[in-house]
């Protein structure tokens, strides 16, 4: 059905509030601040609870993937909450343009709004492919640069917070420090600082050193990596606060960063040309952006390596190499081969216990997640992977039970490794 798209006009820019659904809390706070400083009135949605799911179930086809249901549910719930003047509110949603259902979220949102008698609310698509443009919302080059930086910093903060939090002596220190940096960086962006290569290097150094300065104690924790569909992987609303649950279960958690996903999206353009031909210009452009973002990633890794003894996150080229042993790099829908690569990389870097999260019935995940577990385990039988489905009716008790099983095996492996090392003959000096 053709519906006339509700425009987000230039005038609306002035007095409309734009609502952003929440995904990865650290990254999205930074992104929000970038948009606010670009003179958009944005607000990050923090409403959760059963009414979000209820609204989603009510207005979205129930077989649609869970992230769509949650994101749309969260927005409609917010609009109906009375907190906003619905005639002065717009919504923003990301659109990837890839072969998975996610490219259709924006259409599902518009359909849902219509059904909820909110059809007049304009929806803005956030994407890099020039899809579905709105006159009142333009991504300028400087905004793009800031957003990219926000992701880079976000990854760094998330990784370090995850490495420090379980071991900190004074509980809450890592989270406070993270919040401090979010505020500090947002202020810098506002003054057009923190964006140049020099500024970033300096910030990264300071960030890493500030985390390294936190007093930590040694504890024997189970190391658990989380991969999966991007929304479910990061969003506590989507994964029933998985990170919190794992923390309670005495685990150290590692989530591969968002830059990997960015790089993956860019790299796919290069791979496409390689596999199917054509588009010399496209390839050149993509290669250029690719090497640029790759450089930022390398800076992050170097900063951690130089200024601390923290574990260094796996780099994108490493993920790619890991993936290639298992799956073709042409598998590029949804999280595609990157998800497989992340599992391989996590396993290699000592996070042998992996939770692969996905919305129930997620199509790409049938292939790159569940479909590849067997092959990964063939290469390393010690790799302990559990696939967990999330949807409105998948109960927490079921999910946690499966995770606990995975953790039981993890603990056993940990003990075995300890005794193995203990009984190992001491190497003799020659």
């Amino acid at each position: 059905m053709t519906d006339n798209k509700v425009l987000f006009t230039k005038e609306m820019q002035k007095d409309y509030t734009i609502l952003i659904p929440m995904m990865a809390p650290i990254h999205f706070q930074l992104l929000r601040n970038v948009l606010v400083h670009s003179r958009y009135n944005v607000e990050l949605l923090e409403n959760t609870g059963p009414s979000v799911v209820e609204q989603g179930l009510k207005y979205v086809h129930n077989d649609t993937c869970y992230p769509a249901l949650l994101v749309i549910g969260q927005m409609i719930d917010a609009l109906k909450s009375g907190k906003y003047d619905v005639h002065k509110t717009a919504l923003i949603i990301t659109q990837t343009g890839g072969g998975c259902r996610a490219s259709n979220y924006i259409y599902l949102l518009r359909k849902a709004l219509k059904k909820a008698d909110l059809g007049f609310v304009p929806v803005i698509s956030l994407n890099l492919s020039g899809l579905d443009s709105q006159p009142g919302f333009k991504l300028s080059l400087s905004m793009l640069q800031k957003m990219l930086c926000a992701l880079v910093y976000g990854d760094l903060l998330m990784d370090l917070t995850n490495q420090v939090r379980p071991y900190e002596v004074a509980s809450g220190t890592a989270d406070q420090l993270c919040q401090h940096w979010i505020d500090d960086l947002s202020r810098q962006f506002d003054h057009r600082q923190g964006l140049s290569i020099g500024d970033m290097k300096r910030n990264m150094r300071d960030i890493v050193m500030s985390y390294a300065a936190i007093e930590r104690q040694k504890r024997d924790l189970v190391k658990v990596g989380i991969v999966g569909e991007i929304y479910i992987k990061y969003s506590p609303l989507g994964n029933n606060s998985l990170e919190k649950f794992l923390a309670e279960q005495q685990c150290e958690v590692k989530l591969p960063g968002m830059m990997g996903f960015m790089l993956y999206c860019v790299y796919n353009g290069v791979e496409d040309v390689k596999l199917y031909g054509g588009g010399f210009v496209k390839k050149q452009l993509m290669s250029f952006v690719y090497s640029l973002v790759l450089k930022l990633e390398k800076m992050t890794i170097d900063a951690i390596r130089t200024y601390s003894d923290f574990d260094v996150p796996g780099s994108f080229p490493e993920m790619k190499a890991g993936a290639e042993q298992i799956i073709g790099l042409g598998a590029k829908m949804g999280e595609g081969w990157l998800l497989t690569g992340e599992m391989v990389e996590l396993n290699k870097s000592g996070f042998k216990n992996i939770i692969c999260t996905q919305p129930f019935g997620c199509l790409p995940n049938h292939i790159v997640g569940k479909g590849m577990i067997r092959k990964i385990r063939e290469q390393d039988p010690d790799c302990n992977i559990v696939a967990i489905d999330y949807d409105p009716s998948a109960t927490q008790v079921n999910q946690e039970n499966r995770i606990k099983l995975m953790l039981s095996i993890a603990r056993e492996n940990m003990k075995k490794a300890e005794t193995d090392t203990a009984s190992m003959p001491v190497p003799q000096a020659e």
Partner: protein, 968 residues
């Protein structure tokens, strides 16, 4: 001493081990949701019996989770506990299969430890067996006994209880033997366990069976043994392995008195998501009851029935209803009974009783509807048979001429229809995956030890009904589990279940959010609405008042009676008293050999020599001749594909799986490789045998059926020992003019990766699954040349030539389909036939995928074409969705074309688990409905039961006919 307690979904078990680890005490009982109470009981008992103030103890099991946080009882994960117990107590175990109330687990102990539990969508376990036993009207023990006498097996889907029910119910109605059904149910559990859990890993060596169902049902063990081709062991204490492992893992002593006190004071209800109560107080309930009591159909039951009257029978999935009316259309007699799995005898007895009591009654006409329609009609000579929807519609209109919307929730199905201008305008039926409505409540009530009436009444005044979600019954089971864990009471669960049935109907089946779209006059009917809690929940959810006739459960039968009266034959063919008394039938089973489906036929031989054949998918065994498939594009497509035969060539054989996108691309690849001098061998269409053989290599049990069949296709090529198999990954499909982009869906695009990673045997041949882009004709030859040269030596020049031919063949193939389709359209228009666009994907041409639904449609006299016949008839247009998949873009285009055509309607085939269709179905529906067309959707899966499909199609045709009459 150590104590291990295992609290599962239905039972609580404990063991006490002495210091040497020997089992000195054990017991189990059902806990009926009363987890804390029962746990306290156990603790008190053990403490008193052994006179110990404290003991090393731990708890395990799904219902025990959370006790750890709330009252610091150590918790052990149950599968892990099993493993510990097994490694300590048994020697040389290779594999453990453990079935519980709602869980199924496989543990591989040797050769790489692996433990697997069933996913959230797998119900084939203890609860499933219980449900099926209830359906057969047997106790669990009786079912095991019955299975020993089995002679043959039926194919029953076991993914969840709902699917299995829809397979079993028609078999029961056709009169299949309970013995065979019982054995078939066990076999279904076995298949489910192997497919769902083994996931490609072979179960071999020393196998151990644990858990309730495997302990108590010898025939289930036998079924496992037979399928796995080994003899498994069911060790002593097989029920208690979780508890034993838990005890073994218990470390620190726990003080009994402290633990009991903590349990008693624990705030259990704090985490339950609750909903507003159904009724604020008794007063509100009274007003509600009074309002509904006003809705009465006149029932006048005289002492003796005299004179002309008409009979209506509704042989539903779980109940049989009968109504007798006089010529004034007043009800003189009614009957409503559970069918006990034998509707035929029940109807016969009721009729005999009725006729004996009323010798002066004259039944001038009769009509039957429901699942048992065909059997009862042919057994007793009933004059007419109508589809359920029409029966309900007829009754509702009699009751309320200006009815806008009818919703019927029966034992197994939900039927809803909108009425527009006096005709059925839109039909919603539940999909196979969300059925279990009435019978679900029933089963659940029984499982908790209540009668359904008492159980639902409990919920009326619950202060905080539990929010149980709105999905299929299997999910609801787990939701209830969670609620139990959080300490919800029976009345709260009861109310929650009633509400979830309603939500399921509204959001899953009707897909509406507000009452306005349903209209002003809403009639609720079907047995489930006798339940006040369900009725109230329905009104609450829609925020409107609806009408429940006093004969809500009889509406189908009443509608039949009305139909019978209005279409009175010259002489009724209904059997008379004498004939009924001497009526008996014998059931034989034969396998039909008339085509490759090999349907298992149930032949009912009646006493007067007539017979009734059930279980058939087409009319051939009945009429002895096949329906002409001239007007069926699916038959044409199959014929076209079968023409691509192997042509011996110098380069040897290469295999192509005939599945997913390879089906439409067969002409392309066949031509391409034949040109290059290969002998192209295909896997042929799928068959159930091939599928079952390969199903253990499927890694994701919730993926769509067409994808699962790829495993069968590859297996069949491997069996033929083809040296090379070509199955490329294809992100992109051909570009077509109507779409915004030309993607394949993720499953179609990358399934070759899954095959490579999960079917080990493909390493024995040259499995070519590189990424190929046919969408760039210019680059294709160079790229594919490079790929092929990693395996063979081929020249670029010949590849370029072959490519050109391949593209031509592809265009030619699609053009032929369009042409043949147009011929069918022209012929159908000449004959004044209905044309059905059976729209899906090209791979629905596989008869196993589409369950011969195309032939079913032609048997109703309509012509069948597919979406790819007409998708070029309309130009590009902006839609309400992002139109990025090639195959799916054809659906939208077809819908837009159908919207403009007379006597042409669209039926969409949707595979269970197809995520993309969650988007396409809504859009196709919108396109059609905007132009006043009826949208019909058929969900297909492994199930072979066509009952629900028939209802849908017959309703569609009935509605179209009605519409036509209306216009005349």
């Amino acid at each position: 001493m150590r104590l291990g307690i295992d609290i599962g979904s239905t039972t609580i078990k404990y063991v006490v081990l002495d210091d040497a680890g020997r089992c000195i005490d054990q017991d189990y009982q059902r806990h009926s949701c009363q987890i804390t109470e029962k746990l306290i009981e156990v603790l008190q008992k053990v403490s008193a019996k052994y006179n110990q103030p404290a003991m090393a103890l731990a708890v395990s099991g799904s219902a025990a989770m959370g006790l750890q946080e709330k009252c610091s009882l150590p918790f052990v994960q149950e599968v892990y506990a099993t493993r510990i117990a097994a490694t300590k107590r048994l020697e040389e175990v290779d594999c453990i299969i453990e079935l519980g109330g709602e869980d199924a687990k496989i543990l591989f102990l040797s050769g790489g430890l692996e433990v697997r539990m069933n996913g959230t969508c797998a119900g084939g376990t203890g609860a499933f067996i219980d449900q099926m036993a209830t359906l057969l009207n047997l106790s669990a023990e009786e079912m095991n006994e019955a299975a020993k006498q089995a002679e043959k097996l039926y194919t029953i889907a076991s993914r969840c209880g709902v699917f299995a029910k829809s397979d079993i119910q028609p078999l029961i109605n056709q009169g299949a033997d309970k013995e065979d059904l019982a054995a078939s149910i066990y076999q279904a559990v076995v298949n489910q366990t192997i497919q769902g859990l083994a996931q490609g890993r072979k179960i071999e060596g020393r196998v151990v069976y644990l858990g309730g169902p495997l302990t108590f049902n010898s025939e289930l063990r036998a079924a496992f043994d037979k399928t796995l081709k080994l003899t498994g062991v069911c060790p002593e204490n097989s029920l208690y392995y979780v508890a034993i492992g838990t005890a073994l893992l218990a470390e620190d002593p726990v003080n009994f008195a402290d633990a009991i006190e903590q349990l008693q004071t624990m705030d259990a209800s704090s985490f339950v998501r609750s909903l507003p109560p159904l009724f604020a107080d008794e007063d509100e309930y009274r007003r509600f009851s009074e309002r509904h009591q006003r809705n009465q159909v006149r029932v006048h039951e005289p002492k003796e029935i005299i004179g002309r009257c008409a009979l209506g029978i509704d042989a539903g999935s779980t109940t049989v209803k009968m109504v007798l009316i006089n010529e004034q259309e007043e009800i003189l007699y009614s009957m409503y009974q559970p069918n006990q799995g034998n509707a035929l005898q029940l109807v016969r007895e009721a009729l005999i009783e009725l006729m004996r009591a009323n010798p002066r009654m004259e039944i001038v006409s009769s009509c039957v509807t429901g699942y048992g329609e065909d059997l009862i009609r042919s057994a007793f000579g009933v004059d007419a048979g109508i589809v359920e929807t029409m029966a309900h519609f007829t009754a509702s209109r009699k009751y309320m001429p200006d009815v806008d919307f009818i919703i019927d929730i029966g034992g197994q199905d939900i039927k809803c229809f909108k009425i527009h201008n006096g005709t059925i305008d839109n039909i919603f039926l539940n999909e196979a995956c969300s059925s279990g409505c009435g019978s679900f409540l029933q089963t659940f009530a029984n499982a908790l030890g209540y009668e359904i009436e008492d159980f639902s009444r409990l919920g009326l005044f619950a202060k905080h009904p539990v929010d149980l979600g709105s999905r299929c019954t299997v999910f609801m089971n787990s939701s209830v589990k969670q609620a139990q864990k959080d300490g919800a009471t029976i009345d709260e669960i009861s109310a929650g279940l009633s509400i979830s049935v309603v939500k399921n109907a509204l959001y899953k089946v009707i897909r509406t959010a507000d009452a306005k779209s349903l209209g002003k006059h809403i009639i609720t009917q079907g047995g489930t609405f006798y339940n006040d809690a369900v009725l109230r929940a329905f009104e609450q959810e829609l925020d409107t008042e609806v009408i429940r006739p006093n004969i809500a459960g009889l509406m189908g039968a009443y509608g039949c009676a009305l139909h019978a009266l209005r279409h009175c034959p010259d002489a009724s063919s209904l059997l008379n008293l004498d004939q009924l008394e001497h009526f008996h039938n014998e059931i034989r089973y034969v396998q039909c050999g008339l085509c490759n489906n090999h349907c298992r036929l149930t032949v009912n031989q009646f006493s007067d020599g007539r017979k009734y054949i059930g279980g058939n998918r087409c009319e051939r065994p009945v009429t002895k001749k096949s329906t002409s498939q001239d007007l069926n594009i699916y038959a044409v497509k199959r014929e076209l594909l079968s023409q691509y035969k192997p042509v011996p060539g110098p380069r040897g054989k290469i295999g192509l799986p005939l599945a997913l996108n390879m089906m439409e691309l067969l002409p392309f690849w066949h031509t391409f490789f034949t040109e290059l001098g290969f002998e192209v061998v295909t896997s042929g269409f799928a068959s159930l045998e091939k599928y079952q053989k390969a199903q253990n290599s499927i890694p994701s049990d919730t993926i769509c059926f067409p994808a699962k069949l790829v495993h069968a296709a590859i297996q069949s090529l491997l069996d033929q020992q083809i040296p090379a198999i070509f199955y490329p990954c294809m992100t992109y499909n051909m570009r077509e003019k109507n779409a915004d982009n030309n993607y394949n869906c993720p499953v179609v695009a990358y399934y070759p990766e899954v095959i490579a990673a999960n079917m080990q045997q493909v390493t024995q041949c040259d499995f070519i699954y590189d990424y190929v882009g046919i969408h760039r004709q210019k680059n294709f030859p160079i790229k594919v040349h490079k790929i092929l040269n990693q395996h063979f030596r081929v020249g670029l020049r010949e590849v370029i030539k072959a490519s050109k031919k391949a593209y031509e063949a592809n265009d030619q193939h699609l053009e032929t389909i369009r042409q043949k389709g147009q011929e069918i359209i022209t012929q159908a228009q000449l004959d004044d036939r209905q044309i059905i666009v059976l729209a899906g994907r090209p791979y629905h041409a596989d008869p196993l995928v589409s369950h011969d639904i195309d032939k079913l449609i032609t048997s109703y006299g309509a012509a069948v074409i597919s979406e790819d016949v007409i998708n070029e008839e309309v130009g590009k247009k902006e839609l309400g969705v992002w139109n990025q998949w090639t195959y799916h873009s054809r659906l939208y285009a077809a819908a837009r074309y159908v919207a403009t055509q007379e006597k042409m309607n669209l039926v969409q085939l949707v595979s269970f688990g197809c995520g993309v269709d969650a988007i396409t179905t809504d859009e196709v529906r919108e396109i059609l409905e905007e132009h006043g067309k009826i949208y019909t959707q058929i969900k297909i899966d492994e199930i072979t039961n066509l009952g629900a499909v028939k209802i849908r199609l017959r309703s569609l045709f009935a509605a179209l006919k009605q519409e036509e009459e209306h216009h005349d």
